[in-house]
């Protein structure tokens, strides 16, 4: 399974079925069907039995879903009104290409573009304001309301349409790097040496409130959960250093806290020490923002010790998010090193 395929596949929160199928097949090939479970919210839980019951039960988690859009109605002249699923800034949407509906062998996704009033028609006052999502429309070339509703009825899901593109020195831009990077690394780690029980949780609905991790955490109740994520790098332009959060290309990010969880202080220190000892590029996330599956996993059942390893991502939650391949490799290496030393 390559990252390009994972990023280009469509999988908005609650509708992760395309990603789930790829994940399921990849896990089944390595661990066998018997090791796999599908939970009620659509998370895939793959369990690799351990030989040493004295070792802690470890969960590695990454979420399958991406942020996207949802068609809610059509205008008289055949444009689609839509809302966001997950945190989407309306400033990143104007004039972007989207795919309306999910690609299937029987019916390909429709091409669409997000439109707004042209600059020629805007008053100087209009130009000062950000257009809210309610004033943006998806054009799918329908001639009127009836045709639009036939082509893309309310409830149709929409994803960004961005080819996975390597550029610069070891950078890629794509949609959905958050968190297909984590999913990809989880698949890379299926054979990671560890003598204890190892559970791979591919969660659903993270972007709408850590929902898949809530039920997956309850089901698994691991001793330790390591969340493989991406996190917002705010390292462009003239941002003061204190607000940059993390920097793309400078290694995997270890978080001491975010808005959803405090890292277990011992696990946090272990990750930093291992990064140093094994010369794995790493950095500390230098801002408290965002939240991820660790928040739900930590509090599931009687609780778990958690820590988050994130790949820095510029323009996160946009059609063109940017990550560095070396940061992804560092995420995998540090997770491997952690398991080897546990």
């Amino acid at each position: 399974m390559d990252l390009k395929t994972l990023c280009e596949a469509q999988g908005v929160s609650g509708r992760e079925e395309h990603i789930r199928r790829m994940v399921w097949d990849a896990c089944a090939a390595k661990l066998g069907e018997d090791a796999l479970a599908l939970d009620g919210l659509g998370s895939v839980i793959a369990t690799r039995k351990g030989s040493d019951p004295g070792k802690p039960r470890v969960m590695l988690a990454a979420h399958m879903d991406e942020v996207g859009l949802l068609v809610v109605s059509a205008t008289e002249d055949g444009l689609l009104r839509f809302r966001a699923l997950g945190g989407v800034d309306s400033r990143v949407l104007v004039s972007k290409r989207v795919r309306v509906g999910y690609d299937t062998p029987e019916k390909p996704a429709l091409a669409g573009v997000i439109g707004a009033m042209a600059i020629h028609q805007q008053s100087p006052e209009d130009r000062k304001h950000v257009l809210p999502i309610e004033q943006l429309f998806i054009d799918i070339g329908a001639k009127d309301k009836a045709e639009a509703e036939r082509m893309a009825p309310a409830g149709t899901l929409v994803t960004f349409d961005t080819p996975y593109t390597p550029f610069g020195e070891g950078l890629v831009y794509a949609k959905a790097l958050d968190d297909r990077v984590g999913v990809w690394n989880l698949l890379n780690l299926l054979d990671a040496p560890y003598a204890g029980e190892l559970v791979f949780a591919f969660t659903s609905q993270e972007e709408v409130g850590l929902r898949g991790a809530t039920s997956a955490g309850y089901r698994v109740q691991p001793d330790i959960a390591v969340v493989l994520e991406t996190t917002a790098a705010n390292d462009l332009g003239e941002i003061p250093e204190a607000l940059q959060v993390c920097r793309v290309g400078q290694g995997v990010c270890v978080s001491f806290m975010d808005t959803a969880s405090l890292a277990d202080s011992q696990l946090y220190r272990t990750m930093l020490a291992l990064g140093k000892e094994k010369a794995i590029p790493h950095q500390v996330k230098q801002f408290v923002s965002g939240g991820n599956d660790a928040g739900a996993l930590q509090r599931a059942g009687a609780g778990s010790r958690t820590v988050v390893l994130s790949v820095p991502c510029r323009n996160i939650h946009s059609p063109t998010s940017v990550c560095a391949l070396r940061d992804m490799a560092a995420q995998e290496s540090l997770t491997r090193a952690f398991l080897e030393n546990l």
Binding site: L262, F287, Q298, R299, R305
Partner: protein
């Protein structure tokens, strides 16, 4: 009790770093309870078995954590940028002495605001006396947490002030209750919880594993008896409060009545509390598993979430009598 509060408020313990507080409480309770254990989030769970095998399981929760400031960035000149852990008020934070776990001291200060800029923790920094980034990083690391360093001190005949009164006062109260508790028919599980200030996290996992029949949180609450304060019908020194509701839980009316009855029997004046904001561990306990009746018994506290949180010892002692009475001691 006063000594116990002095001792526990003097220990460093922001959310997620409650180990030292837990260790001290464990020492204080050695031999006083039947079992002591810790869970994945660091909760200290102390169980004292009841004499009646059909008795209830009553969970009493007091949180060990205090609010703090986590270092997010070190500037070239050696100043530390911080973010809040829990409800740090910028207004209460100007030019404050702060301390780190390793004893490093510093001054938390707000830089002059630029035109149009508003106060937030982004305009604050900690000066730890380092000349540059390298020296600062030899003293502390990113992710280290500072707390207000004010010492605990006595005010007037009955009052104590400390930056950790919320909620070490209640930890001391709960320790004292366990030390005095004779054999009773119900099982008491005293949980010294973690991470309350960041969202009742420790109470969430401990209530799940303890699986009690009833949950009572012990905490501090705001008062409305100081100049120009928000109107809250709670006064310092007029007795502990029995919470009817706050933003996170509505107390079980029968349990509220039982606590009032215990107070009347013990001759302790209590106050009824309705707080339209804030929450306590009761909010997490009531939603655990199939749910349970909960209530909060609070001690009025002035200047909550500041470096000088003030309680009146008579309210603390009143709370102890009410709770011991409720337990049937």
């Amino acid at each position: 009790m006063e000594q116990l509060i002095q001792k526990l408020t003097g220990i460093y313990g922001p959310s997620g770093r409650e180990e030292l507080v837990a260790a001290e409480i464990e020492t204080l309770l050695a031999g006083k309870v039947d079992s002591i254990r810790r869970d994945a989030l660091g909760n200290l769970i102390c169980e004292k078995k009841g004499t009646d095998p059909n008795g209830k399981r009553i969970m009493l929760a007091a949180h060990m954590d205090q609010i703090g400031l986590v270092v997010t960035h070190v500037e070239k000149e050696g100043y530390l940028r911080v973010s809040n852990i829990g409800g740090i008020s910028p207004a209460n934070s100007r030019t404050r002495r702060v301390k780190f776990a390793n004893g490093v001291m510093g001054v938390l200060h707000e830089q002059p605001l630029k035109p149009g800029e508003t106060t937030s923790l982004r305009t604050f920094y900690i000066d730890i006396g380092a000349a540059n980034e390298a020296e600062a990083l030899s003293l502390i690391s990113l992710g280290d947490v500072a707390v207000y360093a004010e010492d605990t001190f006595k005010m007037g005949a009955h009052r104590l002030a400390s930056p950790a009164m919320d909620d070490r006062m209640a930890c001391a109260l709960l320790v004292s209750i366990l030390q005095k508790l004779p054999p009773i028919k119900d099982t008491v599980i005293a949980v010294f919880t973690t991470q309350e200030e960041v969202g009742l996290r420790g109470a969430t996992t401990s209530a799940y594993s303890v699986q009690p029949d009833v949950g009572i949180a012990l905490d501090v609450t705001l008062t409305g008896d100081t100049p120009e304060e928000r109107r809250v019908a709670v006064n310092l020194g007029e007795g502990p409060t029995i919470v009817v509701m706050n933003a996170r839980s509505i107390s079980n009316p029968a349990l509220v009545n039982e606590l009032h009855a215990a107070a009347a029997k013990a001759g302790v004046a209590v106050q009824r509390e309705v707080l339209p904001f804030g929450g306590t561990d009761a909010g997490a306990m009531q939603l655990s598993r199939g749910g349970m009746p909960v209530c909060t018994v609070s001690v009025p506290c002035r200047y909550v979430h500041s470096a000088c949180e003030v309680v009146d010892m008579r309210d603390v002692e009143g709370a102890e009598k009410v709770l011991l009475g409720y337990l049937g001691a």
